[in-house]
Structures are given as C-alpha cells and as structure tokens.
Symmetry: C2
C-alpha cells in the first residue's frame, strides 16, 4: 500500500489528540484512507506531556514541516491568524495539501487560501473549524448537496453553551459561571472571543458560505454576546416554555441574507433547546430534506481530532485523483460563488421577548399595549411578575409575534420614555425554528 | 462542462421526488457535481401525477434503463428485492454506476452487489437506504472515519416512531394509531415490515457493517416490534422519567457484537427521547468523538430524494477518477471486512423495566425483591400503582440496574410462578445511552 506523509504543526490540545488517535486507530484509519498514513514530522515549540512523540521527528520550527519535501499533507493546528496564515501559504507554495482546524483563519483568509490551493491543484480541508467533532462541513457540502438551504441555526460555541446551561439549571450569574468555566479550562483566560460571539461569528460565516454559495466574509454580521444576560430572563423564559441559547443564525430571505449571532429564546419542544453543557448542535432547514440537526462535542482534544482525521483520510484517499473529482472548498466551483447582500439587523423579522420594570397601577399596561399596537406589533403573551412586598414596581414580560426589528426598536424607545417605566427595556430575540 | 446521464427506475414517491428536486435545483446541483446532470430516461410501469415527465424519455420497462448505452448512473427506486436485485445486477453488467434507496436489497444482497461493482470498477451508493434524508451513511463512512465506533442507537423507522409518539402524547392504543397511520399514508396496508421491526433491522445491519467493518448479514439479529406495547407502559415510563422509543442498537463488546431492534426506555434527558412523529435520529458513540446525534426526516418523497441526489452528486463528481480514490461501499476495503460473532439476546447486559399484577398484601413485595436479589439483580426503583377501588391486585413496576438478560429471564419465570402474581410479567429493556 502507498504511504502518505503527514506533518503536524502545533502540539497543543488538538495536535496531541490527532497524534494519539492516529496512533491508536491506525489500522482502521489506514483501511478507510486506502493508504498508510505516516506522521513524518511534528512541528511544535515545546513538547506536550499528553503526547509521547518518541520516534517521531520533532522540529521546533513549524516552517520546517511546511517545507519538508517528504511531506504530503500539512496539518495546521497552531491557531491564531498571523503565523497560521503564513504557515498555510508556505505549505501551499511547497505543494502540500492542508488540513486545518482554524476557524478564524478560514473566515478571514479563506478566499485567498482556497484560491492559492486551487491554482496549485491542492486541497485545503477544514472540517474541524466548525462545531468540533460534528461532521457539519461534510453534511452541508456533500450530504445535503441536492438541496437549496433556507436557513441554519447553531449552538456553535461550547463555552457560551456551558455558561448558559449553568445559568439555566442553577440560576447562577454570568460572571460567576465564567470564573468556574475558566478554572475548568472550558473558557480562555481572555474569554472575549467566546462570550462576545466572535468565535461563533467565524464559524457562522463559514457555514453561510457553504449553505448559500457565497464568498467568505465577516462584513455585515451582527454579533451580540451573552455577557449582559441576566438569570431572571433565563428563568422567565423557562416559565414561558423557552430555553435561552446563544445561536448563530443565517437565513436566505427575499431581501438578502440574515447573518447574526445572539442570545435567542427557543421553544423547549425544539430539539436544540435540549442541547446543554459544552455540546454543539446545528439545525439546517433545506427545501428538499426539511429540517435536520447535527449534534456532538463542539471542542476538546479527541473530538476535534476526529474531524481533523476525517479530513486527513479524505485528502489522502483522493489526492492522487484529478482535482475535478474533489469536493470544492466551498462546495461549488469558485466561479459559481455569488456575493449577496447581508441584511441590517433592524430589517430582520423575528419575535421578541421584552422585559421592563413598570409602576404597578391602573392604566400602565394599557399605555404599553397601546404603544405596541401603534407600532403594528401584536402581542402573543404578557405577564406581570409581582416584586417583593413594599416594592411599587413589577416586572412586565411581553412575548411579541413576528415583527421587524426597527418597529420593535421604536416601540422600546417609546416605552422607555413612559414615566411609569423605570430604567431600560431588555429585549431578546425569539426563534421558533419550525419551518 | 461534461454531462452525466441519469436513468431513474421507479417513479413512485421517491422517484418523483428525485425527478422534481433535480429539475428545481439543477443549477446548484450541477455546480456541486461539477458536471451537467441529465435525466436521460425514466423507467416506470405507470406515470405519477406528482411528476411531469414531459420531454423525458419514459420506458415502461425498467430494464431498458439498465441496458441503455447512453446512461452512466442507474437510480434504483422500485423497492422490493427480487426485481430490484436483477435490475441492479443488470445495470452493473452493463457498466452503470448504481444509486439505490433500497435497504432490504442492500441488507440482503449487498455483499454480492458490492463485489460485482468492485470487479467492474463501478460505484454503488445507498445513502437513502438508511434514515431517509439524514446523511448518516456519509457520517459513519467518512465523517467519523478517524474513530473506532463503540455503539450506535437509532430511531430508524418513522412509522413506529409516529405510533409511539401518539401513544405517548395521547394515551392511545397501538391498533388505533396504526389505523390512523395507514389512513394518513405513514403506514403500509401491510404494516408488518415497519411495526415488527424488519425494516429497522435492515437499516441496522447496514449501519453495523459500516460501524464495525463487518460483512452485511441479517444472521443473529434480535428483532422485536411494537405491536404488544401497552399505553400503560408508555405512561408508567413517563412517570419514571423515560420515553419509550423503538430503537435499533448495535454495540461492540468484548464478547461480540450486540445487534438488536426493540422498544426501549430512554431517559427524557437524552436528546433522542425528544425525537417525535415520523422523524428519525441516530446516536453514534465513538472512541475519539464521543457521542454524536444525527436527526432528520426518516422518509418521504423529497427528504429521501435529498439523499439519493447527494449520492448522484458524489458518483457523478468522482466516477472519472480512479477507483482507489472512491470511498469503499462499506467504508473500508473488502479484504479488511471481518465477520464477528453476534451475541445472543440472553447474553446482553442492560437495565430493565418490568411490570406485573400482584396481590396487594403484606409479604408480596418482599417475595419479589427476594427473587431479584437471589438472581443477583439489583433494583433501582420499585413502584406500586393503586388499582380502581374493589380491585385486590396492584400494578408493580420495577426498574433494575444493569444485568444479564438470562438472569432477568430466570427471575421473571420465578415471579410468574408466585401465587400472589396474576398473569405474565411484561418487561422492556432500558438504555441510558450515556457512555
């Protein structure tokens, strides 16, 4: 059997996972790849105690791997965008196929990287860049290739989902859970990328390109994190039959493409509402198949390695065949990719959960429902929550029907101007994900 | 762009779906397939009012399609095994690649068909044979190719899941729901294949081969249907925090492979417990990725067409490349397939739900718990349900911890011999699907 030589760059959590799983399952993997996969070289600044590389050529310079003439496939697992970008371009210039788990790299530099690969007749594969161990890139690009995709919605960041699950099940505050997540290693020391939705935005942009045949671009994406979410809203949502999940959502509409990451109320009856802890899940709605859901671990050493290895097997099995037989990086020919307008968040239509504090006296609710009616927003439910004794204000929670966000914004502004309303109005988007 | 000519055999529900979706989405699909897909001929005994084949060559003899020298890919959608078997073999003898949605055909004749295809350098693809629109074959064969699979458990028959969902949500009797399902077209006039688990068994055997690298064989599979399931058990299961689902389960153990289809209690916290109506879902547990779940419509015209089209795109894109670059039919080289012993159901270890009717008097429960203890079975929960006034017997429900089924069988026999117990003992297997 022919050999295919792998070079692994980066020996952190994922790199060690790839090294270890390939060693452990080599018999099965080689049979599926129809060749002998050999780790010829590892590039890593330091050793990893979870990975015994004894017997493997280890270089302290990852660029040695990218230039190593013996290597067929370079696996980029160093993360970040600057050095990773240079590494991948160097690997391509040296005629190597590339497998990467790097969502930021693909979201930001994917078009340049794919063009360079195409020009040189090389493959760049990136299954592990989205949703960890879930083979969602393959599902979108190949499994659903007969469809026009209408929308997709995903829990695509394990850290935020862990925090939300804890806030939900235990009524805890965001900051409190974040500290625990950092201690457990679920969240980075600088958690901004995760909790502000930037990581999810990168993944959503990649899935959007695949779903709608668009070039990769972060332009126009709306991103809101979970840092301002309060336990009381998580709790009120439950009373109304909803879970709050941090979703990346993209949708093909007549007016353009919705592209947004934000906390979202989803009905408890919806399967994705039951996806907890560090798990990920992506719902995909398409014209022929209807609604599908793909669930699994969104991060971690071996789950991510699972996706990296699936890519390595695909590349190793097909690299000798003609480029015409390869699945194109974004699912269709580069020439078929078409930019589409991204909708402003104000033009998006959805339902809303809103909460504010209002004086508990006759006529107040009537003022508020009047404002909603004048804005053309119909109300699905309205609830007053009693406050502790001696408190003159009550929490009012409203669920609206589907409306344009700019109408909701105007209504919220009016409500905040009422003398009977204290402080600002909190609102969270609601998605039923049922069609 | 080169053209690839498709011949569709069978213009029933799925055939019409394939014809219509390919027509509607041809631009996207051709871009993904990197060729022009042309339906050159349809073979069907009669027209389908849901499908306007005007302008397409339609033959009343499906074997015309299999022998048509212009056709590259024959799509077998006639169902059944006898004629379908001949049709597929004829297509292969005539040098055609084959796409089929036929689970019975693959489960029963797959080895012969794959060998014939391999000998002639042809592809046989069958994504639509398992779980309708869910790309589970691709997930098992490619998406998880870095893993050793430990077990999988799936709701893989939409008819039984619809019936169970109705029994669960409305307390209805099996026979009553079946009649409705037949009227709605969810169940066949002869529902045996669905409700006795035979259809699920075919699909399970296919997934087992892919998961464990075994030749296809129905030998040794344990199959139990849902016809004897009573609404009271569905209801008691809910009280205990479980849903009853009809699962196909396969598991790699130290003693052989478990291969079984039967009603199963699963905890409500498990995502698969929330899969209702005609939907399907497959959970896969593997060494690197951990647990994943794939959900979607298990049947229907366009969902099934979605999977057939994904296969057509794959075959059309790769047929010109060397056979070495193709994904082998069962995921690994034929020479690497290995038969493994299938475990007898009596040797399988699981938890159990048991119910029986016992005289409501002191000492009875003690006799029963004594029998369980002597059999070495530990009890997780025991509940007595009061009967209507004037009734001397109560329903006793026991949840056991994990035990070998033959021990449970012996205990059940003892319990049935007690004078204080009336009638037979009902038992249902319980799976926690948590590791």
């Amino acid at each position: 059997m022919r050999s295919v030589n792998i070079g692994i760059c980066g020996l952190g959590t994922v790199g060690a996972g790839v090294y270890n799983v390939l060693g452990r399952n080599s018999k099965q993997i080689n049979s599926r790849a129809n060749c002998d996969l050999v780790i010829s070289q590892v590039g890593a600044r330091r050793d990893n105690p979870n990975c015994d590389t004894n017997g493997t050529d280890v270089s302290r310079d990852i660029f040695d791997v990218a230039k190593n003439p013996d290597i067929d496939i370079v696996v980029e697992l160093i993360g970040g965008t600057d050095v990773a970008h240079k590494l991948v371009m160097t690997a391509l210039e040296n005629g190597k196929h590339v497998v990467t788990a790097n969502k930021a790299l693909i979201a930001q530099h994917g078009m340049e990287i794919f063009a360079a690969a195409e020009a040189r007749g090389l493959i760049v594969a990136y299954e592990a860049a989205v949703a960890g161990g879930i083979p969602i890139i393959k599902a979108l690009r190949e499994g659903l290739s007969g469809n026009r995709i209408n929308w997709l919605a995903g829990i695509i960041n394990g850290t935020t989902n862990f925090i939300l699950s804890e806030m939900d099940s235990k009524g805890r505050e965001f900051a409190d859970v974040l500290t625990e997540a950092q201690e457990k290693g679920y969240a980075e020391a600088d958690p901004t990328f995760d909790v502000e939705g930037i990581d999810a935005a990168h993944k959503l942009v990649i899935m959007t390109s695949l779903a709608f045949g668009m070039p990769l671009s972060l332009d126009g994406i709306y991103t809101d994190g979970i840092t301002k979410l309060e336990p009381q809203d998580v709790s009120y949502a439950r009373e109304l039959g909803y879970a709050i999940k941090h979703l990346g959502i993209t949708r093909q509409t007549g007016q353009g493409v919705e592209l947004r990451v934000h906390p979202t109320l989803v009905p408890e009856s919806c399967l994705i509402a039951g996806v907890n802890d560090v798990s990920n899940a992506v719902m995909v709605n398409a014209d022929a198949v209807g609604t599908t859901l793909f669930y699994g671990p969104g991060a971690g050493s071996e789950p991510t390695a699972s996706s990296v290895l699936a890519d390595i097997v695909d590349v190793a099995r097909t690299m000798g065949a003609g480029a015409d037989s390869w699945v194109p990086a974004l699912g269709c020919n580069t020439t078929a990719l078409q930019t589409q307008p991204i909708m402003a968040i104000q033009d998006i239509e959805t339902s809303f959960y809103i909460r504010f504090s209002a004086l508990d006296k006759p006529g107040v609710l009537s003022d508020i429902t009047g404002i909603m009616a004048n804005a053309g927003i119909s109300i699905e439910a309205i609830i007053q929550k009693e406050q502790p004794a001696g408190e003159d204000y009550v929490n009012v929670i409203i669920l609206t029907n589907v409306t344009k966000e700019k109408l909701l914004d105007a209504a919220v502004e009016h409500i905040e101007q009422l003398e009977t309303v204290r402080g600002s109005v909190t609102f969270i988007r609601v998605e039923h994900l049922d069609q």
